[in-house]
Amino acid sequence: MGIIYGLIAMGMVLIFRAVGIMNFAQGEFLMLGGYFAYTFSQLGINIVLSIVLASLCMGVVGVLFMRSSYWPLRSAQAKAIVVSAMGASIVLKEGARLIWGALPLNLDRIVDGSVQIGTASIRWQFLVIIAIALVLMLLVYFLLEKTFIGNIMQATAQDQYMASLSGISVIVSIGMTFALSAMITGICGGLIAPIFFLTNTMGATSGAKAFAAIVIGGFGSIQGAFVGGLIVGLVEQFGGFYISSTYQLVIIYVVLIAFLMFKPNGLFGEKIGEKA
């Protein structure tokens, strides 16, 4: 699960770097991605293709989300945008319930069964998740660091005003960032839905843990978000096994508080400031 938290956190960091706001509807992107994958799979489409199509749909959702929840308030105070995102989160959650119903849904796994490694039994689906996550990380790195589009997105993230003076369409750039973030998170939804079932509330807890991952990894750092997610996952499982299975969430947030107290910038924290 740490890998999943890391991917969701990565999506949140992309948006944070672009617009300086934490997107509290990120968990709902996860949920919607799962539901889209389910819908496509019900049409008889192969599960892998269903997840790909779902991610494309999430790209559109990301752009619509940006246009409706962020763009009209871009000049307003940050708290207004945060509240807007929270409101959008509720709309997405209840909208999903109206469309797909309240009953939990099941999605096919990409690979069934588990493999025995020593005394541990590991589900193939988890290994697939790890593989896909690594591929996504590399793709995002390649996109942001090696492509023209990535340069545009990074330039906009650093300084929107200068980017617009340089001829970059800020709205298009920010739209692409939201789309990319939603696509990554949507893929996560399609990957974990077969294990944890699809409900309209599945994004809430994952989103909260992803936020913890960002704090631990460092605000604004993509690699920090991923590493933070891994740490959250490990703390969750090892803390649950060795300390208390009942208070897993408490253990995660105690670690979060410790990071805030002793290393508030996180492991890879960087400050994104405006260039003079």
Binding site: G101, P104, M202, F241, T246, L249
Partner: protein, 381 residues
């Protein structure tokens, strides 16, 4: 223009005052409130409940209603939380035309609304099965637990496991919410009473999705059988993950495992699991079988416990209203106390003590994704 608007607005306000009649129009119907989760993690229960309410309302009204009036079931959303349940209850209770209220299918939420029920002095039927809820109902004046409590059912399942299946060592895994925590304790006590031993007691919080830590502990304990007490979604996830980890020992579960929703979610992972429950869609109870068929024909899905319970709650309340020959809340409550053998779709009800009003239960095993009755429990078990 402004004058015209002011006159129009005044006219609308005056007309609306006439529309707000007292109990004139609502005196034509008997209102029964229902507080169930329409949103949140347990929204599926609310879906089944509202579906059942529609069927039962049409059924009763089609047969002439109660005391010559139609019944109207008024639903409010508990959101699947105790705070939401209390807010929804107070909203329903504020309507003077409400004769009785059906509480949510969760002991925690039912206990949360108990104070409001006593203060509002409205007959309230609860769907939870916890012994704590039984104590609250028996201590109060207005709450009725229309369910067999887990005190009888959990012990019966563990006795079955030890004496008839032959399992001696157990690991108990349970949710920390009220009813599941009680079930975990009752399972442990039942195991000990039957001569078995509890190797490990492992807990998790509601909403947990990844049970690796808990199941690894269970694997380490090495028991012959696993006992699980949780809510539907967690039950389905945990049994799936348990089987994925290669744990093949027998599993005994609380009533959630026998439920249609859980079986549908868990799929083949739930094959062979034993559960103790009050309801299965293929129930031998005649009224239950008829309702189950009607529900399936209407909604093209199996009738879950949440639906069957609402059916019985509405019918018991209507019976109390008939026996009181009045919609006066106190008279209806007093009539309810005199109901000692009302046959419902799930079981028969004795409301004289307010708590543990349902009798008996079923031990089932999931075979071919269908809960198959292995043993019927009488109220003496």
């Amino acid at each position: 223009m402004k004058k015209l608007f002011a006159i129009l607005l005044s006219a609308v306000l005056v007309v609306s005052l006439f529309g707000c009649g007292g109990s004139g129009s609502s005196a034509k119907t008997i209102k029964i409130g229902m507080v169930v989760p329409l949103t949140g993690d347990r929204a599926s229960e609310g879906t089944y409940a509202t579906n059942a309410a529609k069927i039962v309302q049409d059924e009763i009204n089609g047969n002439g209603g109660v005391l010559g009036k139609n019944i109207e079931i008024v639903t409010e959303d508990s959101q699947g939380t105790d705070v939401g349940a209390t807010t929804a209850y107070l909203k329903v209770a504020a309507d003077d035309d409400i004769v009785a209220i059906i509480g949510p299918d969760n002991s925690n939420d039912d206990i949360a609304i108990s104070d409001s029920a006593e203060k509002s002095a409205i007959l309230t039927t609860t769907q939870g099965s916890s012994p704590k809820l039984q104590a609250v109902c028996e201590k109060g004046q207005w709450l009725f637990q229309l369910r067999a409590t887990d005190s009888t059912l959990c012990g019966a399942l563990m006795n079955f496991a030890v004496t008839e299946i032959g399992v001696k060592t157990f690991t108990v895994i349970h949710d920390t919410e009220t009813a599941s925590a009680d079930q975990g304790r009752l399972f442990s006590e039942g195991i000990t009473a039957a001569g078995g031993t509890v190797d490990a007691d492992i807990s998790f919080t509601t909403g947990t999705k990844d049970f690796t830590a808990q199941l690894t502990q269970a694997q380490k304990a090495g028991s012959e059988a696993i006992v699980i007490a949780g809510l539907q979604t967690e039950d389905a996830i945990i049994i799936q993950q348990l089987r994925d980890m290669g744990m093949t020992q027998p599993v005994f579960g609380s009533n959630g495992f026998g439920d249609t929703v859980t079986v549908g979610m868990a799929g083949k992972s739930i094959e062979g699991v034993y559960s103790v429950t009050a309801w299965v869609p293929n129930t031998p109870n005649e009224l239950g079988a008829a309702f189950s068929k009607k529900y399936h024909d209407t909604y093209n899905q199996d009738c879950a416990k949440a639906a069957a319970q609402i059916r019985d709650h509405v019918y018991v309340i209507c019976e109390a209203i008939k026996q009181a020959n009045s919609t006066d809340r106190t008279a209806v409550r007093d009539a309810m106390l005199k109901i000692t053998d009302f046959q419902g779709a799930i079981t028969s009800y004795d409301c004289s003590k307010r708590g543990n009003c349902g009798k008996g239960g079923l031990i089932v095993q999931i075979k071919n994704l269908t809960p198959t009755i292995v043993k019927e429990l009488s109220s003496a078990d």
